[in-house]
């Protein structure tokens, strides 16, 4: 009998929601790490009982927690994230230079092949890797030092590395994205990097060919087609068919092309999901209607999915890491809001229901499909 476990990170702890494959009845456990910000929790694709969690607070800094029993018990592992070598400086909001300074781990991406290997995307933007289950962390400094690093400037959320995608067909290839810097690719397992932002247009950047400075909110890929990437940028939904060498806008008929998360259907690589948000200053859905938009054509043609979602007086946001899909036959889609609701659809987005509704603000949602 299949089952699903939804891993929810919030401003004040982690919550785990479990259901059988019908996805009708949900058990909620938590808060785990009560009172701490849980930016992200993710399970190893190799060993679903191996979970990693990013736990942080403004008072006591960063911790990484690891579970080997599917979240029943946790052990703090290594929390020493030290930039390799002399970290140098990057731009601050006012154009002055600031030393690179570690603030928190935004995203944890377990290896596709080794449960002890895991990547961490951090603020100030850098990529770390652990090969010993999170006990020790080493920076992949080639990203920060590839050349454009000193020109990276924080967005409103900080200079965070929030997206890490491993190419399942090519273990040498990794994609990452950094808020207000852009997307980057390595073809040698993270040693060297280059920007992949050709085709992105950002109004505030005067140079139309700017290599970096684009505020990428999220990038998604279907594992069966690793050269096809979908991006929710600050404004604009984008698509690349050549592993990021070039991008085309596919916002099409969306009511607004601002938003944070983007996801791909587990079995239909041309079916993608976004949650349009009114604007960068109004972080809530247009008209107070919470709508997921689905495209079955890889972009450009979008349909609003509203059944079961609030269609009046709704002013929540859905953050960049707060949407995920399961891989059951009828693909489940999940997202969490800053209002503390987690919505789920067990029919690819046609119908939705809140599976928990009064959590702290949701920072991240991940889903494990369990045998």
């Amino acid at each position: 009998m299949s089952a699903v476990r939804v891993l929810v990170g919030t401003r004040k702890g982690a919550f785990f929601l479990t259901s059988d494959g019908k996805r009708k009845q949900w058990d909620v456990s938590g808060p785990h790490f009560a009172g701490w910000e849980i930016y992200h929790v993710k399970g190893s694709p190799v060993d679903p009982n191996r979970l990693y969690a990013s736990q942080s607070s403004g008072w006591f800094g960063q911790l990484i927690q690891r579970s080997d029993d599917g979240g029943k018990t946790w052990e703090p592992v290594g929390n020493e994230f030290v930039y390799d070598g002399v970290p140098g400086t990057h731009q601050w909001y006012d154009g002055t230079l600031r030393p690179w300074e570690f603030k928190r781990v935004w995203h944890l991406e377990p290896s596709l092949t080794d449960p002890d290997a895991v990547y961490a995307g951090v603020e100030d933007a850098a990529l770390f890797r652990s090969g010993d289950g999170g006990k020790t962390w080493q920076e992949l400094r080639g990203l920060r030092e590839h050349g454009s690093g000193p020109s990276w400037q924080p967005g409103a959320g900080g200079t965070c590395l929030h997206t890490i995608i491993q190419d399942p067909s090519n273990p040498q290839r990794i994609f990452i994205a950094i808020s207000a810097a852009g997307a980057f690719r390595s073809d040698d397992a993270g040693n060297t990097w280059r920007p992949i932002n050709h085709g992105l247009k950002s109004e505030q950047i005067p140079d139309p060919n700017a290599e970096v400075g684009h505020c990428v909110h999220r990038v998604a890929m279907h594992p069966s087609r690793p050269n096809v990437l979908f991006m929710q940028k600050h404004w604009d939904v984008m698509r690349s068919d050549d592993a990021g060498e070039s991008w085309q806008e596919v916002s099409g008929n969306l009511p607004t092309d601002f938003g944070f998360p983007i996801e791909v259907h587990a079995h239909e690589p041309e079916t993608i999901y976004v949650v349009p948000i009114k604007s960068d200053s109004e972080h809530f859905p247009p008209e107070g209607k919470l709508r997921v938009y689905r495209s079955r054509t890889g972009g450009n043609e979008w349909e609003a999915l509203t059944k079961g979602l609030p269609q009046r007086d709704c002013y929540v946001n859905v953050l960049r890491d707060a949407m995920a899909v399961d891989s059951l036959d009828s693909c489940g889609v999940y997202f969490g809001t800053t209002g503390g609701q987690v919505y789920a659809s067990n029919d690819a987005g046609d119908n939705w229901e809140p599976i928990v509704r009064d959590l702290p603000a949701v920072l991240s949602v991940e889903v494990q499909t369990l045998a």
């Binding site: 403004g58 008072w59 006591f60 800094g61 911790l63 929390n79 020493e80 030290v82």
Partner: protein, 98 residues
């Protein structure tokens, strides 16, 4: 013997209840006390002081004997009452936001 009172989140992290007591063989300073504390509870490394700079984290404060020791030099001797175990050394999460 040095008595240390940790904030609730760090007690939970270190899995301790109530005060922590440490025997310090060297002269008791904030640095030697925190070194000993982190030696016994490695999970606390990085939560009170930065891993690299060893600077106090901004929203962590140190108090003892009704005094704020947060800005004292780390190698300055602890108040005698703390060094004797008559008074606890308080590690406090500052009241700020959230």
């Amino acid at each position: 013997m040095i008595r240390i009172v940790l904030p609730a989140h760090l007690r939970m992290l270190a899995r301790v209840n109530g005060e922590v007591t440490l025997d310090i063989t060297d002269r008791a300073t904030q640095r030697s006390v925190l070194d000993a504390l982190e030696g016994r509870y490695p999970v606390l490394r990085g939560t009170i002081r930065d891993h690299v700079t060893q600077q106090r984290r901004p929203y962590v404060r140190f108090f003892a004997c009704a005094r704020d020791l947060s800005h004292d030099q780390p190698d300055a001797p602890m108040p005698d009452a703390v060094a004797r175990g008559a008074e606890p050394y308080l590690i406090v999460g500052a009241m700020a936001g959230g």
